[in-house]
Symmetry: C2
Subunit: 351 residues, 2 copies
DNA sequence: ATCACTTGTGGGAGCGCTCCCACACTACCT
DNA sequence: AGGTAGTGTGGGAGCGCTCCCACAAGTGAT
């Protein structure tokens, strides 16, 4: 029976109640000050803040989470193994943007890898326990069940790269269509007339939009689109090699190639060189992503850059808005839930 | 599949109490089953498990954290900016080891960067709120206040790379002394007699131990140690260049160099080449870390490899033990709190 | 003077768990 | 017969917050 009377006062960390006693106010008032409510007089606020300072009070997150039913944490879910995460600068930039935007807030960021089946099962459990207020989904494949799981659990989520034009989740993307256009227009302005396109994996919506941009750029410049010059790839280096070989076989007169990714362009470049074509003299080459590989290729690769860091920031903005919105459950307006950011063509010696 | 809505009062997630009602037992019994207590009869356990399944019950982490005063989360604190984190394979390997070991448990891993002052302030706040049960500290500088903060807050912590021989925190390290010895012994066995050492930053304990290993290997082989052949560096490439230039000036007869890191070795290699020395013909070169750069140098660099992934696993093991230990507060035995893992010399063409 | 607001404040009632004490029951001694 | 363990089990008492209702005191219109 003596066990509790002592414990609170002398023992561990100070509680709200102790701060209240010290400041000579009620528990509710301290809570209001801590949470920045405007309905507190200046004098009271000062008294409470002094007590907080003196006692070194730090709110107990668990208690807050339990009472308020929120966690003040969001997760960045990477449906890839750690290895790829570290290999691709995409994630590093994204994380930088997300981190910088989040540092303005009280929110905590969790990084969760869901590459293996086991990790995915763990993630599902984690989400079911509602241990985060929202989720950032990057690099999601079209058939991934994760987005639907999130919808079902009613967890706010933002996806980078919508899965289709009708993506129900809030999303942030770069302007794939415009980026592709700028690449093709650049090649046209350099006097190239037989411009081929090696696509990305066409199950990815962004890859489709790049094809659309390619077609429209040609059409608007008065060229007719030769569908034979569009060769399907899959974003990989090997895919680039295969597609380029096929293009050279069917269309030996090709004088420019726009590849849907830098690594694809790298693969295409190898095949071109092996076939004795000089870059850019015989065939101009343009990639996409402006990754490190673009700068290190020989010759350095012209490429379409996406503002990845900015995309990370935009995702956070959307997600925080979504989380704040979740009170009026009915009013899920289809407002500004899709953000598209402009790309930029970085010209180098390959074109 | 039928989620709930029948028994649940107002549509939220099922609670312990609801599971108890469904299984026809008391709240305490369900808690015991959930937490794997052995003091439950098989029949009761089965009934509870069935109810959990039917209701799709998932424990509320916040409530658990509040009642039990633990979070089931640990943090991996990286006192570096994100950029370096991604640049160095060290962290990637470490994270892999940590993640794999942790996936056996219910623990959640948080990745926290504390490169800037602002991030550090945030981290301090975070730790003061006791939002994690323990902390993994990697790549800590000797004068970092973080370890002491953790001690003061009584948060279990494990450090990679002790700050001194008297490191009070539990620590995991690779055998810097033995690694250095093996490098020097290898050079001796290749018939080299004038072996120089470019050190790491000597404020780092591990760098000192490598110097010790260098000295003892020579001494034990019957050579006398020429202190002039020990040139201070700082783990960087530029430091390697500077130190090598100095060595060549003072000791033109040097026929082997053991550098405290691969990048240092790379810097030294440049200077050697510029001075017209061939590697390994005129001067043999050995690095430390066995990083990607070692494989990509010309000629490929012999290097001492540290088992980083395994170090990550060992850190988790130590930390979990420390966390489990914290109940008998008095019995802070100075048991096996220091783990040292063996290194391995990877021989390549530079020696 | 009354009424109707507004502003600031105190504190009760939970949130969903874990901990632990009390209480059956059983089994096996004396 | 009574004692003395040991095993399962139920449920009270919190953990430290937020939410919200009640209420005092002030302000202005009637």
């Amino acid at each position: 029976m003596a066990s509790h009377g002592v414990r609170g006062r002398s023992g561990g960390r100070p509680t709200l109640e102790e701060v209240a006693a010290r400041a000579g106010v009620g528990r509710g008032t301290v809570s209001r000050v801590i949470n920045g409510s405007p309905r507190v007089s200046d004098a009271t606020r000062a008294a409470v803040e002094a007590a907080v300072e003196e006692l070194g009070y730090v709110p107990n997150t668990a208690a807050r989470a339990l009472a308020a039913n929120r966690t003040d944490a969001i997760a960045l879910v990477v449906p890839e193994p750690e290895t790829r995460f570290f290999a691709e600068p995409y994630f590093s930039d994204m994380l930088k943007g997300v981190g910088s935007e989040l540092s303005e807030t009280e929110m905590q960021l969790l990084l969760i890898f869901a590459g293996s089946d086991r990790e995915r099962a763990r993630l599902a459990q984690y989400l079911a326990a509602h241990r985060v207020d929202g989720v950032l989904l990057v690099s999601v494949h079209a058939d991934d069940p994760l987005p639907d799981l999130l919808t079902q659990l009613e967890i706010p989520a933002v996806i980078s790269g919508p899965r289709s034009a009708a993506e129900p989740l809030a999303s942030v993307d770069s302007d794939n269509y415009g980026g592709a256009r700028s690449a093709v227009e650049h090649l046209l302005s350099r006097g190239r007339g037989r411009i081929a396109h090696i696509t990305g994996h066409l199950a990815v919506y962004g890859a489709q939009r790049r094809v659309d941009g390619y077609r429209d750029a040609l059409r608007d410049a008065g060229h007719e689109v030769d569908e034979g010059l569009i060769e399907p790839g899959d974003f990989t280096e090997e895919g680039g090699r295969r597609a380029m070989a096929e293009l050279l076989r069917r269309h030996p007169d090709v004088d420019a190639v726009f590849a849907a990714s830098d690594v694809t362009a790298a693969g295409a470049g190898q095949v071109l060189r092996e076939a004795g074509r000089r870059i850019p003299d015989d065939v101009a080459l343009v990639g996409y992503d402006d990754s490190a590989i673009a700068r290190h290729m020989e010759p350095p690769l012209t490429s379409v850059r996406q503002p990845i860091e900015e995309m990370g920031r935009a995702m956070i903005d959307l997600l925080l808005a979504e989380i704040a919105d979740r009170r009026p459950v009915a009013s899920r307006g289809l407002g500004r839930h899709q953000v598209v950011l402009a790309t930029e063509l970085v010209e180098r010696r390959s074109s």
